[in-house]
């Protein structure tokens, strides 16, 4: 059998194997053959064996035993053996193998070989797999070849130099002088290599970059030559003269013109010429135009040129070729920040691309659409995006959802629209939203207090139909929080639907029992059920039984909650209402807000309430505290001095607290006198706001002949009660009962402890300082008729 067909015969045999096992058998036989061949030494058959081995390697079988053979063949004087040897080196050896070092010497010799084809083999192999040491060794040779050889070798040496610089950046200086002169070559191959080399040099070293800026006119000249040249059959591709070289030069011009006005000016004309004259009906022309657009956008070009570039991209958007549409969207994405208005003009086309069949195009269109959303177009864009969300491929869903949320947060025209949008996303793609959506949405709902009724109705309806976890969690929270609004039935913005307490409890129980509910969701549902116990009237027993069932649940979190809620029902029933009252509006910046835990946690309301008291305490001078503590007989109830009339007393959260809890009209209550002495009389008036809040007004009047001056009141309450004193109306009480001083005190009694208050009055009358104390024993929660025991 003649050797010429031996390789092809082997390939045929391997291909005819019907099973993988059969193929393996054949390969094993052949490899044994090859190994035997290698051991035999030089007999003219080695190159065939190596060729066979390379085929076997390509099929995926191990071929490392051929590495040494490559080294030997490379050293052979025969061209055919060298050729296959170098090919084998490129395929089997890489810089990590030790054997690769062994070929350095052969390469060195071959670089000075008389035949340029042998030289080219060496250059090619070095550029493909040369390690750093090899490059260091051979760099001077390459540099010599760069300068003094024919164009065939020059072009290869140039690219070899590029590889060397990548491996050993310090050698860049070695090649810089020759690179400049190469630009004057006529051969396109050498020219192309030179441009690549200069690009690489400029990337590594900003000084070299400055140096090569002087070459801009020369590059512009070369480009002009290419663009305006007549038809050259050698380099022509679809009417463009050497698009490969054109693109490379444009890329280099981009680097040279970036952030440099002189260089950018020098290329303005050329870029305009290329942009207008290049025919983009075929890919080659589009490639050149694309590179031109990138260059225009990256240098300091004049605005007319930039507009031209964006228009080209806009034209690309309308192109039939999907590749070109994809490319244009990628480029528009890069410039949407800087040239926002220009890109906005093409918004319609971009939004249309959302409906394209190709996923890559869809992805680009989505990113671009999200970048184009602004306050002006938010409504129409959101409509398109929501439609897209319903039909988009699953891998894009979560990105779309988060993009929609971001856009809605920044540009939503109204709270209701915002809530509607988020609900829509949750119902369409609830499974793909991120976890922090839930607390964010809840926070948003609490701030939109006028929409509570509307929100809870919508969420209830969604809950009945859907099971996406995020949606269910938000719905449970809202039902728990605003269940009373749900049961009221009417809501102006939505069709009326009669919801009974049983319906609501059914819905929550379904969530609790469903297999689909995650433990976190069940936690939400349980807390919501518990909260409803204070907001509904008829089915409290049902809630009690639900809660007690979960007291023996396997899940630790649920069990703990159920046990605590049970305790609320049994031992602490009097506290239940206070504990489960409405949450205040959540401030987004509060720490611990976005930790993903259920915000329905009981502990939360307390964190906002102690704040006003603490603020007051901090401003209290220390000496006064000691004094008052003595007076109060060693108890450590903090005494709060009445603040000066000009100070601003409260923090906003406290005020909100009262707002949310309010709604009850204060019924007029009688004034009760608590102190009468020396003509000064003190009356108190209770306004009960809710079950735990009391507003006490202290009214002082003077029946003596003289004015009472420097009148101040101080008050102390038991530890569990929070006290806040508002500024008095004045500190002078006119004589003869002609005027009064009123001071309001806000008491907050969440634990419903028995209310007591000690009041100390101090004033001057006729030049003498007076001080006295009154203890008010109890303020019964219903009647607010205090019983007094003066000290």
């Amino acid at each position: 059998m003649t050797p010429s067909v031996r390789l092809q015969e082997m390939i045929r045999v391997i291909r005819s194997a019907r099973t993988q096992g059969e193929e393996r058998g054949i390969i094993q036989r052949e490899c044994a053959d090859i190994r035997a061949q290698f051991r035999q030494g030089d007999n003219g058959e080695r190159s065939h064996s190596l060729a066979k081995l390379l085929y076997v390697h390509m099929l995926g079988y191990p071929a490392h035993f051929g590495q040494m053979e490559c080294v030997r063949l490379i050293a052979s004087p025969r061209y055919s053996e060298k050729r296959i040897g170098y090919l084998g080196a490129m395929m089997l050896l890489d810089e990590k193998q030790d054997a690769s070092l062994l070929i350095t010497n052969s390469i060195k010799n071959d670089l000075s070989h008389s035949s340029q084809y042998v030289q080219s083999l060496a250059l090619c192999t070095l550029a493909c797999m040369g390690s750093a040491e090899m490059c260091r060794d051979l760099a001077p040779e390459i540099e010599r070849l760069l300068r003094a050889s024919n164009s065939y070798i020059k072009k290869k040496a140039t690219l070899c130099a590029v590889h060397i610089i990548k491996k050993v950046p310090e050698l860049a200086e070695l090649f810089t002088p020759s690179a400049r002169t190469l630009l004057s070559e006529k051969n396109h191959g050498v020219l192309h290599g030179a441009v690549v080399l200069i690009t690489e040099l400029c990337k590594r070293n900003p000084d070299t970059l400055d140096q090569f800026r002087k070459a801009v006119p020369e590059l512009v000249q070369i480009m002009k030559g290419l663009v305006t040249s007549s038809y050259s059959p050698e380099h022509n591709v679809a009417g463009i003269s050497d698009p490969f070289l054109q693109v490379r030069i444009l890329r280099l011009l981009r680097i040279l013109g970036h952030n440099n006005d002189t260089a950018s000016d020098a290329m303005n004309d050329l870029l305009a010429q290329v942009a207008t004259n290049t025919d983009s009906s075929k890919t080659a022309g589009s490639a050149v135009l694309y590179e031109t657009v990138l260059t225009i956008m990256d240098i300091n070009s004049e605005s007319g040129l930039r507009v031209l570039a964006v228009n080209i991209l806009g034209r690309f958007l309308l192109n039939n070729d999907r590749n070109i549409r994809y490319i244009s969207m990628t480029s528009l994405q890069k410039i949407v920040q800087t040239d926002h208005n220009a890109v906005q003009r093409h918004r319609g086309t971009i939004v249309d691309c959302l409906k394209d069949q190709d996923t890559s195009v869809k992805r680009r269109a989505l990113e671009l659409s999200l970048a184009l959303v602004s306050a002006v177009n938010i409504r129409s864009m959101m409509k398109e995006l929501l439609i897209f969300l319903s039909f988009c491929p699953p891998e894009l869903r979560s990105q779309t959802a988060s993009g929609i949320f971001n856009a809605a947060e920044r540009y939503s025209p109204s709270k209701r629209w915002h809530i509607d949008t988020i609900l829509h996303v949750l119902t369409t793609a609830g499974g793909d939203v991120r976890d922090e959506t839930v607390p964010n949405l809840i926070q948003l709902i609490t701030t939109a207090s006028e929409l509570h009724c509307y929100t809870v109705h919508k969420l209830y309806r969604a809950l009945v139909k859907d099971i996406a976890q995020s949606l269910v969690q938000v719905a449970c929270w809202c039902i728990g929080e605003y269940g009373d609004l749900l049961l009221k039935g009417e809501c102006e913005e939505i069709e009326p639907m009669q919801v009974t307490e049983d319906d609501v409890l059914d819905a929550l129980e379904t969530v609790l029992q469903s297999h689909m509910s995650s433990p976190a969701t069940r936690g939400f549902a349980l807390t919501a059920t518990m909260k409803l116990s204070t907001r509904i009237t008829d089915n409290v027993d049902r809630i009690r039984s639900i809660v007690s069932i979960y007291g023996s649940c396997i899940d630790l979190e649920l069990q703990q909650r159920a046990v605590e809620y049970n305790a609320l029902f049994k031992k602490y029933d009097h506290m239940r209402a206070a504990v489960l009252e409405r949450m205040p509006v959540m401030d987004k910046n509060l720490p611990g807000h976005t930790n993903g835990d259920t915000p329905g946690e009981i502990k939360e309301p307390d964190t906002s309430k102690p704040k006003p008291v603490e603020a007051g305490l901090l401003s209290e001078p220390a000496s006064q505290v000691c004094d008052l503590l003595d007076l109060l007989g060693g108890t450590d109830t903090p005494l709060q001095p009445s603040p000066a009339p000009t100070s601003t007393p409260t923090t906003t959260s406290s005020a909100d607290l009262l707002d949310l809890l309010g709604g009850l009209e204060p019924t007029p209550v009688p004034t009760v006198s608590v102190y009468e002495k020396n003509g000064l009389s003190l009356k108190i008036q209770c306004d009960k706001q809710t079950e735990t809040e009391v507003t006490v007004s202290l009214i002082a009047s003077n029946s003596t002949q003289n004015d009472i001056t420097n009148f101040t009141l101080q008050a102390a309450v038991p530890k569990s009660v929070q006290l806040q004193m508002k500024a008095p109306s004045g500190n002078v009480i006119p004589a003869h009962g002609l005027g009064q001083v009123t001071q309001t005190v806000l008491l907050n009694n969440p634990n419903k402890a028995s209310l007591k208050m000690r009041i100390r009055v101090s004033y001057s009358n006729q030049g003498a300082m007076h001080q006295d104390t009154v203890l008010i024993d109890s303020f019964p929660s219903t009647a607010c008729q205090p019983s007094i025991s003066p000290l």
Binding site: M58, T283, Y290
Partner: protein, 154 residues
């Protein structure tokens, strides 16, 4: 710079692999598998560009072979399509109406042609005729030597 160039059939069989970066064998095998899976699962009328890790993948199907290459971020994808097309033209010129079987049975020649066209991940020659002439000359050199040694090529 191109990171690699792969040719594989519709069944995922590798016909040519050119690596312009040093990568261990295991890594190369994994990349080949990823590429074949990704490209073969693309629907017919989608665009020819993909994203994979931080590389741009450009692929084109010619008859029964997929040509697939990986580019860096700065590279021009449309130009890469032209590069792949140019390579196919070179093969076509050399083999005369090239088909997959030509590349299977003469894979080493396909490599030689590629090595005259691309080097270190960049284009080394933009003229078709020039490349054809060099490959022809190298073949002649080989044959002449073989004739001298009175032994034919592989």
């Amino acid at each position: 710079m191109m990171h690699f160039l792969l040719l594989f059939s519709r069944q995922g069989k590798l016909r040519l692999q050119k690596w312009f970066l040093p990568l261990p064998e295991r890594e190369r095998k994994k990349i080949v598998k990823d590429m074949t899976t990704m490209v073969l699962s693309r629907k017919p009328r989608t665009c020819n560009f993909l994203h994979w890790k931080d590389l741009k993948i450009v692929y084109k199907r010619y008859a029964s072979l997929y040509f697939c290459c990986a580019l860096e971020n700065k590279d021009n994808e449309l130009l890469a399509l032209e590069i792949l097309h140019r390579y196919v033209e070179l093969l076509d010129k050399y083999f005369g109406n090239v088909c997959e079987l030509d590349i299977i049975f003469n894979f080493e020649k396909a490599y030689f042609i590629l090595d005259e066209f691309l080097m270190g991940g960049e284009i080394q020659e933009t003229s078709k005729q020039s490349i054809a002439k060099s490959v022809e000359a190298s073949d002649m050199l080989q044959e002449t030597m073989e004739e001298y040694m009175s032994k034919p090529a592989f």
